[in-house]
């Protein structure tokens, strides 16, 4: 009898990994992410081939100290591209259609700075 019980115990031990494997738990859960409808795609605008003779707009959203950085950029542009003009703009992050249309008319290319 004792031997029989020992044999059964060994059998259970041998089967245990299989039993544990069979006990793997699977949870099927729902994805919490909202679908993002893809917005219309716009490629970057064609670049100017060179800056010489061009007008460069510099748009800054006006946060403190940024002007010092843009002064440095403007100075380098003037030094290295003497025939290039710069026009400085300042306004809110979202410049709006009216301002954007105005800038498009006045310059050939734009540096847009957020600073944050």
């Amino acid at each position: 009898m004792k031997r029989l019980l020992q044999g059964m115990a060994v059998g259970v031990l041998l089967l245990l990994p299989g039993l544990l494997q069979a006990a793997e738990v699977a949870l099927e859960v729902l994805n919490p992410r909202g679908e993002i409808p893809p917005p219309p795609f716009h490629a970057p605008s064609e670049r100017v081939s060179a800056l010489d003779g061009k007008t460069v707009g510099i748009y800054w959203i006006g946060k403190a100290g940024g002007d010092n950085f843009w002064d440095g950029v403007e100075q380098l542009l003037n030094e290295r591209y003497p025939n290039t003009k710069t026009v400085r703009y300042q306004g809110p992050f979202d410049l709006g259609d009216e301002r954007a249309t105005q800038i498009v008319k006045e310059v050939d290319t734009v540096l847009y700075g957020v600073g944050d």
Binding site: G34, I36, V110
Partner: protein
Amino acid sequence: MPTVYFTTSQFNENAHLSAEDNGVPNMRIVAVAADKFYRERISKERAAPVAAAYFDEMIAKLTQPVTAEEKSPKTKTSSRDTIKVTGESLEAALENLNDQFLSSQWTDGLPVVAPTVERVKWMLSGTTRSPEEELGPISPRNGMATVEKVAINAVMAGAKPEYLPVILAAVEGLADPQFDELHFATSTGSFNLVIGVSGPIADEIGMNSGLGMFSYGNRANSTIGRAIRMAMINLGQTWPAANDMALVGRPGAHAFPTFAENQAQSPWEPYRLSQGFAESDSVVTISVTGGYGQMGGTKIYGGGAVALVPPENVLKSVIDDIKSGRGAVRETPNGPVSGFGGSHRKFFILFNPEIAQELQDRLGYSRESLQAYIDDQTSVAFEDLHPAEIASVQRAIDSGYIPADRVETFKAGLKPGGKVPGLLRPGDAHFMVAGGIPGYTITMSSYRNGIYKPESHISKAVSGATLTQAGRTSSQDSVAAKQ
């Protein structure tokens, strides 16, 4: 127009996400090292080497031809509807789920309840609304909020089905095209959201409107606030330092402060009536607040259990603080521009019950007369304005910032003996009664007008509830049905 976008390295991911969200995923970006820019911007001399370090990159991005790859949209695969998570035991599977969800940026960092099919179905039993109903896109990434997606997030937050109609109303507020969720969800300031429930559903679902109304320990308050945070993470798809750029985080990091109006101890008619809703309605108000201090942040008034502060002094302090903001009177270079410190503020005042009772019983203020008194007393006398402030108000009128129906009032204020309103519109100092006895009065302030959309405070009626008597229909349903 060929453009190069300058940002700092801390905001580089944010810039790329914004570009993608706006349909320009291949926008050319220069990311200036944040540790250099913010320290060196203090003077021209110190900023010049930083500018020089990025000059060649800037020139290249302005002049190198756009490549074929840049001209091609990236293809994105749609996310799977269901996900299978396994483990050697239930505990292991739940742990794996939390790890997987967190690494996918789908949770707030605290463990969540697994949104199993059965659990979400259980959550949806709280509403008659169709799971497919679209409430609208949620900023900043414009993930669509459907009733089912909100329910999934409500499950994760630990909510119960009877809270779902309240959560849906709050999400409707977030998705409202008039409500500026984008700014408060992404700003570098610690702007936050507060959620207030006015109406009988609050009692039915066991919300706390009394002592410690913003505290832990109440499942409805806690999980409604957390479900809205979850919805912003998964529908708006925010993530800290990626597109939620709050420099010190937001007070509602895991759950936005959520409370119920204490109507039982209020001497006044409910807040929802002042917003055009019916007595029988249950209404959820979401309001942007200044978080850890922006735009006045949250302030506390009165003596609580400790000091004796007469109610008239509490009211005067509240009014003085509102007035100190000076609205459009503030001298700003461009006139009042939202986001540049010159715009009007709006206030959400929570009067504690004993102050409210004293204001009504001893000082004779009804809700209506108190609102009128606050509107009047927060105005600034013409004689107290200096010339630059007068010019600022005039610019506000000329630029169209002042709403057409308020222009005459503002113009009248620019004459001897006149008063310029400190609030853009009457009623911009919203108030409810909340908290217990004793309590404190608090004010929470933020921009009146959002930066990107017009409103920073909005109320929505609860409807479609199945497990409560309140919130099954709303007076707004009948208005909508007639239209």
